[in-house]
């Protein structure tokens, strides 16, 4: 009996399941070409790559590209810039939506609440090209909107996009400005998941709104905050190519250049492909380790899984 059931079953499966494999063909082919083939191409980090000679013809140089990178003060500065900007963005980018969600949670007027949400989500969907255009206009030292306010307050106009320290400040603040609204969504969802009975019990015990927030709402938001913080660690070498590229200029390369923009400039603009790939590969490998580590931490401490 057992035989007759198991054998035809596996045949039957293939007979009905082959379309499932067929459906996956386009995605598999595209992924091999545009994701796995480039991973193989990363061997040129170990070559003195010349496009006209190809992978086969270019000379192998071992770790020399990496040695050059890590003996070069420019690339070390770039890695440092990436870390500083990314960490500031992660910290500010978590605190702002956290506080904003708490404030929004205190609003009882639904129409007002919805309008606020609609307005603050918007910048997330605009591209850094559009926002870069707007920012360079309103931050301009020649009568830009923001500098008009700065001058009206009795200060000298600030060169937001032309001074290294101000540039970093501008990058972090504009990132927070673009994303804080959107970032509140997960926090609001976690607040919405709180059992109302907890608030009723607290009210019975004489806790006011502030005490309720402190002892119920904030603790309830902690697990998702920890998940977001750990997952963000995985992206600590991603300081935001789009944003930096659309805001920076040669005046702020020393403090504003990050790995991704630097790779673009040395590899594509200056044609130093081996060196650019080496830095890119360094970033990918460290990124992989960090992401896998972050997922493990998130799983262990907060039970988070992607699937």
């Amino acid at each position: 009996m057992g035989k007759t059931v198991t054998e035809p079953k596996s045949k039957w499966k293939w007979r009905t399941n082959w379309p499932l494999h067929v459906m996956l063909i386009p995605a598999v082919v595209l992924t091999i070409i545009f994701a796995y083939w480039p991973m193989g191409g990363a061997v040129m980090a170990f070559q003195d790559f010349k496009p006209w000679l190809g992978f086969g013809g270019s000379e192998w140089v071992g770790w020399r590209n990496f040695e050059r990178l890590f003996n070069n003060s420019d690339s070390l500065q770039v890695i440092w810039n990436t870390l500083i900007i990314a960490v500031l963005k992660i910290v500010a980018g978590l605190i702002a939506p956290f506080v904003f969600a708490l404030m929004l949670n205190e609003v009882r007027h639904m129409v007002f609440k919805r309008s606020v949400q609609t307005l603050v989500y918007l910048p997330h969907f605009l591209s850094w090209v559009v926002l870069g255009g707007i920012l360079s206009d309103i931050l301009s030292t020649e009568g830009g909107l923001i500098n008009k306010i700065v001058v009206a307050l009795g200060h000298e106009p600030i060169f937001f996009l032309g001074d290294g320290d101000w540039f970093r400040f501008t990058v972090v603040i504009s990132h927070v400005w673009k994303e804080f609204g959107f970032g509140t969504i997960v926090f609001l969802a976690s607040i919405a998941g709180i059992n109302p009975a907890l608030y009723e019990a607290a009210l019975m015990d004489g806790a006011g709104r502030w005490k309720q927030t402190l002892h119920i709402t904030i603790p309830a938001m902690m697990p998702i905050t920890i998940v977001l913080a750990t997952l963000a660690l995985g992206g600590v070498l991603n300081a935001g190519f789009d944003q930096i590229f659309n805001l920076y200029n040669s005046l702020v390369y020393d403090k504003g250049d990050i790995i991704d923009t630097f790779v673009y400039r040395i590899a594509i603009v200056s044609g130093n492909m081996g060196l650019g790939t080496a830095l890119g590969l360094f970033k990918s490998v460290v990124g992989l380790v960090l992401i896998v580590g972050a997922y493990r931490l998130a799983y262990r401490y907060a039970g988070y899984r992607i699937f």
Binding site: N17, I33, M39, A42, V120, S127, K148, V186, A189, R209
Partner: protein, 292 residues
């Protein structure tokens, strides 16, 4: 009036004011740009415009839309957005359907899943990808902007989660009735997942409309630039070396009101789909971010 009620009233007023101010901060820059775009050249250059146009005129928009470079790029962007969204969504649906099956029912599911997820964790980097696209001869074609991002693993995960919520009985009934997996997918899964597909399509559209870097990387000829890339070059970087424009056109595009009009047109499609997007995305994001 008791002290704590007084305090909570003050809190409500301050809280409301701060929230209102923050939300205004998110839209006022856009309103300012629109006001500049609709103003006369003189008041705009003299920085007199705040939130309301002075010497109201549509000239900047007219100049922009009549500019050949601009209208060509606009067309390319529209093509890219439509074709790119269709390609990405077809690939996503065809990938999510098999992956939504249980590992028991579909041998190989786990292997395929890891094959795709690994690309979210590790990549060859900018330069090798650039070389692959160049080797394939895709430079200066629309496909260089569409194919490399056609497999959107994140959308696939969201869609497969949605597929999993469709009752198993429907699928079994359909398979027993003799429909193959293709028919089952098109007749049952896709019609039942239209809300999810609509949401992901909107997100993909926004991506393609906003994406500018591939347009710059893979097009050696600025005639092939999508709008986002053109805006990046002329408005943000103000780098005219890549463009073949005559001095008269230069005059047009460096004018502050025209720049503002271009920025605003770059944002316009997003503002148009935003109301539809907003209805759906909260669910989508929460599904992706918080799981029990």
């Amino acid at each position: 009036m008791p002290d704590h009620i007084q305090r909570s009233k003050v809190f409500t007023i301050v809280n409301t004011a701060v929230l209102a101010l923050l939300s205004l901060c998110c839209v006022l820059p856009l309103v300012h740009i629109l006001a500049v775009a609709l103003s006369g050249k003189a008041p705009a250059t003299a920085n007199l415009v705040f939130l309301w146009p002075i010497d109201f005129t549509f000239d900047a928009f007219k100049d922009t839309l009549l500019n050949d470079n601009f209208s060509r790029s606009l067309l390319i962007s529209l093509q890219r957005t439509v074709i790119g969204t269709v390609v990405t969504m077809v690939v996503a649906a065809m990938t999510a359907y098999p992956l939504s099956k249980e590992s028991r029912a579909f041998k190989g599911r786990g292997m395929y899943a890891w094959f795709f997820v690994f690309t979210m964790l590790f990549s060859g980097g900018l330069v090798p990808t650039y070389i692959v696209v160049t080797k394939l001869g895709l430079n200066n074609s629309l496909w260089a902007l569409i194919l490399p991002s056609a497999v959107e693993v994140w959308s696939i995960i969201l869609l497969l989660n949605f597929f999993r919520n469709i009752p198993k009985e429907l699928e079994e009934a359909s398979l027993i009735d003799g429909s193959g997996h293709f028919t089952t997918m098109f007749r049952i899964f896709i019609p039942l997942s239209l809300p999810a597909i609509a949401t992901l399509s909107l997100f993909t559209m926004v991506f393609h409309w906003n994406e500018w870097f591939q347009g710059m990387l893979y097009n050696t000829n600025s005639q092939n630039y999508p709008l986002a890339t053109l805006l990046q070059t002329i408005v943000v970087q103000q780098d005219f070396t890549k463009l073949a424009v005559n001095p008269e056109d230069m005059e047009d595009i460096t004018n502050r009101t025209v720049k503002a009009a271009q920025i605003f047109i770059g944002a316009l499609p997003i503002l148009m789909v935003y109301p539809f997007l907003q209805r759906y995305f909260v669910k989508g994001i929460v599904l992706g971010a918080v799981k029990e």
